[in-house]
Amino acid sequence: MSSVERRAAAGSSPALPRSQRPLSSADVAAAAVGLGIALAARAQGAYGVRAWGPLGFGVVAALAFLSVFGLRLSRAVVGGAAMLAALGLWAVLSVTWGGLPDAAWSMLDRSLLAAAALLLGGAAAAAGRRVLVPAAVLGGVVAQSVEILVRGATGSTPGAWFHGRMLEGPIGYHNAQGLLCAVALPLAVGAGCSGHPLVRAAGAAAAAPLLAVLLLTQSRGALAAAGVAVACQLALTRRARLLVAAALIVGAGAALAVELRAVDRALLTDGPAGATGALRSYALVTLALAAVLAAAGALPAPRRRLGLWPRPRTLAAIAGTVLVAAAVAALLAPSFVQRAHAFAAGLATDTPPAAAPGNTRFTTISLDGRREAWRVAVGAIREAPLTGDGAGRYAVRWGVERRLPDLYILQPHSLELELGAELGAPGVALLAAFLGAVLFALRSALRADRAAAAAAAAAFVALLVEASADWTWSFPGIVAPVLFVVGAAAVPSGAPREPRPRPLLLVAAAAALVALALPYVAAGRLARASSAGTPAAALAQVHAAEALNPWDPDALSTEGRLLEARGEYAAAAALYADAARRSQRPWLEWFRQARALRRAGEVQPAVAACLLAQHADPSEDLLHRGACGWPWLSLHVPGSRPADPEGATRRSFPSPST
């Protein structure tokens, strides 16, 4: 069959040029996927179960539907998805040695969602829709970036989107919002190096809003991830046109950084409401840069392939230029060395240095408490290297061992350390196996379509770099699109053959749908409880939520609060105790139990509950006030910190098991 016949059989019209052809269902699907990605990002990056529930349900349902008709998938993609599913199941198994059931269930669901996204991307590639997947993802992220810029320029940005000088955005976390742009940037660069001038122009123009929002978040981690990703893309493709595109993007970033100073100053001095003028100028500069980049992208670009390493003469010239520039900078600015020293010293402190208004966060560097978070995780790995503490247990350990009293965290800000601390060596090994499968899939893909595979690999690298020093893996609205692109880049192994139905995949998808639906429906019931008209109606909703997800500490705690409000203190105290055993922050539930018992006049049990709360978080001053505000109870003076960070005073507390 000729190519024309094949296209005719596929439903396209070869007689018409592309611009005059009606939209195909594949185009509609791509637009729908792009819209879905924008919506998932809009719903706080699908961080909560109310958002990742439907997202996961949709992705898994689509996969189940396709598996009935038959799928042709790369073995590496199937292997990677299997490793992710195994990671989720291992998290569930960890409940037997201390893991928290609700946290384990969440980890299982998110792993299944990621695995399904990877497989769905692979299915799209096998169906010949490889190109549409990165286009859809890029379109979704660009749509959201444009919305952020337009809202800023028109003064209609919701107040919660900014936190000081940082753009938290619709995702609600500046590093995650920045990362979303960082993973899309290689896709824009890849499109900017396409063979078609219109695609090149569109890709280059798309880079401007992505870069603008990335800088607006002032996320140093996301910026570093974007840099590493584009460098990785350049190294993999070694194309001169990609080097030109990268240089243009660096130039655009420099222009935006100059304008960002005014935005930073306005945000810090006048707040988001008073920064509309600066944000408008910033948006206009972005628009101008998009036009310039589009025009540059439309021009014919060099097709030369770069050598693996620069020639010695070129290398010497680069090194010489860098040395001369550094020497000139040191001579012209006497404080250059001191500033460089202060910049590097930021890594050694847990207190983030505050940059003056107009200087932006990019002029400082700090680990923002990560050293402490990593120390606690390493301690957990040393204590139980083979099994870890169990899913969700890191937050419990953080409460007991933290030395930074103002830092409340649930994850150690590193995917690898989180898995090591909670799931032990098998958890890290499963992650490594997943990464190996993805690398294998991308290695094969590089031979088939180097540019597309390099863009997908770069997006994956950005995701991994940021997740290694943050908790951004907890945002399925970012992880799923990247794995969707990676799956689409993979090439099915072996000789071409007819797709075959996969009953095993169908059964697994059906089980995954149940696993995804139950916590989602339970969370919906719990949300309805908070808006119920009467306490009885609220209680009925909470009971329904508990029936669907009996391990949710929030449901137990909410029921406790409802009973406490009705004066049923003993029953409320029992529920709080149950919630404490299932919660990542048990000290809060022990504190609530103490309050209920104290209201019931049960002083001795209330004191015991307070001691448990203080044991679970010795650094929390608030646990020495209110319901636990007995002056003779505190073992250290409120307002001070334990003198012995290893917890010499803590050893006199009763253990939680008592």
Binding site: A10, G11, S24, S25, A26, V28, A29, A32, V33, L35, G36, L39, A40, R42, A43, Q44, G45, Y47, G48, R50, A51, P54, L55, G58, V59, A61, A62, F65, L66, F69, A127, A160, G172, Y173, A176, L407, Y408, I409, L410, Q411, W471, S474, F475, A527, P535, R561, L562, E564, A565, R566, G567, R585, L588, F591, R592, R595, R599, E620, L622, L623
Partner: protein, 92 residues
Amino acid sequence: MTKRNIIGSLAAALVASFPAAVAQASPNGDQYGNPVQQETPPTVVKAVSPAATQQGSELPFTGLELGLIVAGGGAAAGAGLVLRRATRGRRQ
């Protein structure tokens, strides 16, 4: 229906079913927020008799807002008359 049509319809249905705005706690607040600072003890709600809630000699309001009903009915009747007049010529 071709397989491509099925995929297209499925993707569109997925997007349509996705909640555009899901009210939930901010991820930043969930990760870094101090839960104790937001902690307020639940207020005890005591059962009160209906007689205790009456103030003075006024009877409790148990009916409907008559003004709204009359306004809504009037608007509906007016719209009906206008429609009837507007379509009279066509019917004839």
